[in-house]
Amino acid sequence: MTGEGMYREAAPSRDGGNGAAADGGGVCPSDVDLSRVWTGVAAEVWRRRPGPAERLAARLTGSAGLARALVTTPSLLLGWVIATVVVLGAGAAATRGTGTPYVALFAPAVAGAGIAYAYGPGIDPAWELSRSMAVSDRMVLLVRALAVFGLNAAAGLAAAAASGAAAAVTFGWLVPMTAVCALALAAATLSRSANVGVAAGMSGWAITVLAGQTAAGRLTAAITGSVLVLPYLAFAACCGAVAWYATRIPGGAR
């Protein structure tokens, strides 16, 4: 048996088809390409039916490839989502028990880590292969980051509502969360390491919270000070620009 033969015989169902034709003595007309028929059958049998989330994403993005990339985002996998819900749920419980707005303090850090892990190197095993694909890796990153941000914002809002925190604290963390996410993304893309992104986002947020406490004497200063909204947004815009630059198109011909 040649190696090529071995390749062909690796598909048992097709062999069954050929065998039936041979045993049946003319069951299958000679002008039928059995190999082609088998490929069609295999395509139907092996075809994967996308779930509702993937179908919706394909409709929204207009690309089946982008939708598939989105549902494989490391920080959108079930384990990560459960961990996020558990952290924010614990924060909500602690907020109700102590009065300290832990949800507002946790949410930006959790979202920042999620955003950093939406980026490839170090966490997406097929990153190099993905970089050679027609669907742009920058587009994949953008869609993934938006999805992670949206999911974390929704989870944070639900946890904040459940914690019964004051209105200012309930929504005050959304803008800092944007800034922390942008910082994590910028650090991850610039260093080409998701872990560096997580470290930058978490440490950046910890420094901000501690600095707010030192300056204003309150742990919540970083999330309740309306004067900080513009600086947060400006910082987020700068980090966004850095991430955009870091994921720029590599020069081909120079």
Binding site: E4, Y7, P12, T39, P125, A134, A253
Partner: protein
Amino acid sequence: MNVELSDLTRRFGRTYAVAGVSLQVGPGVFGLLGPNGAGKTSLLRMMATVLPPTSGRLRLLGRDPGSVGPRREIRRRLGYLPQNLGYYPGFTVAEFVEYFALLKDMPPGRVPRAVAAAIEQVGLGAKARAKLRTLSGGMLRRAGIAQAIVNDPQLLLLDEPTAGLDPEQRVAFRAMLRGLGERATVVVSTHLVEDVGAACTEVALMAAGKVVFHGTPGELIACGEGSGAAGDAPLERGYSAVLAASRSAAARSATETRA
């Protein structure tokens, strides 16, 4: 010419992984030989548009990969098997191949049949619905080859494709390679000389980031005749002779520079 490289370089810090490579490759199977660290993988990654060159000119399938639109067109027609194939352990073989078919922008309606054909071609039909984490190294390599050929590429880049394949699979793979080379440009990076001898119509030998030989396998064999170079087969002797000559030339050049 489907691949045109002109004075292409790639530097990592102070080290030149690729130091001024010029090549033109047309349809057929092109072998890229060389010892570890010769720069084969960096060169292949540049051709796969994964790694930007530091300097030089690169054209693939008649297009400039430095611009967005042409690069996307190149990537639609490209098949790439990296040296270290990352994979998603929870995916089945069919899901893995389908994922990359979709990322290659294939029309979704054509994908299932193309996936089935690619999986059949590499002989993984019986494992199409098996999770990747349950496969052996050789089977994973074949799944990687399946994703590379799923879009019927015009330019196929394979980095160490036979690593982990058993002898029977390697024979089958070479036959498949010859078939693919009839309608596309296939560039195979390897340090296994016998792969080149069996499947390639043209070969380049790299050492220290440079191409030190470019010709047919027959011409490489001729380089080893009467040279007394080490090797069990004529092609191995040619390979050793060319490498030895390039190393002594580099040593001479270094001595002259110091002097």
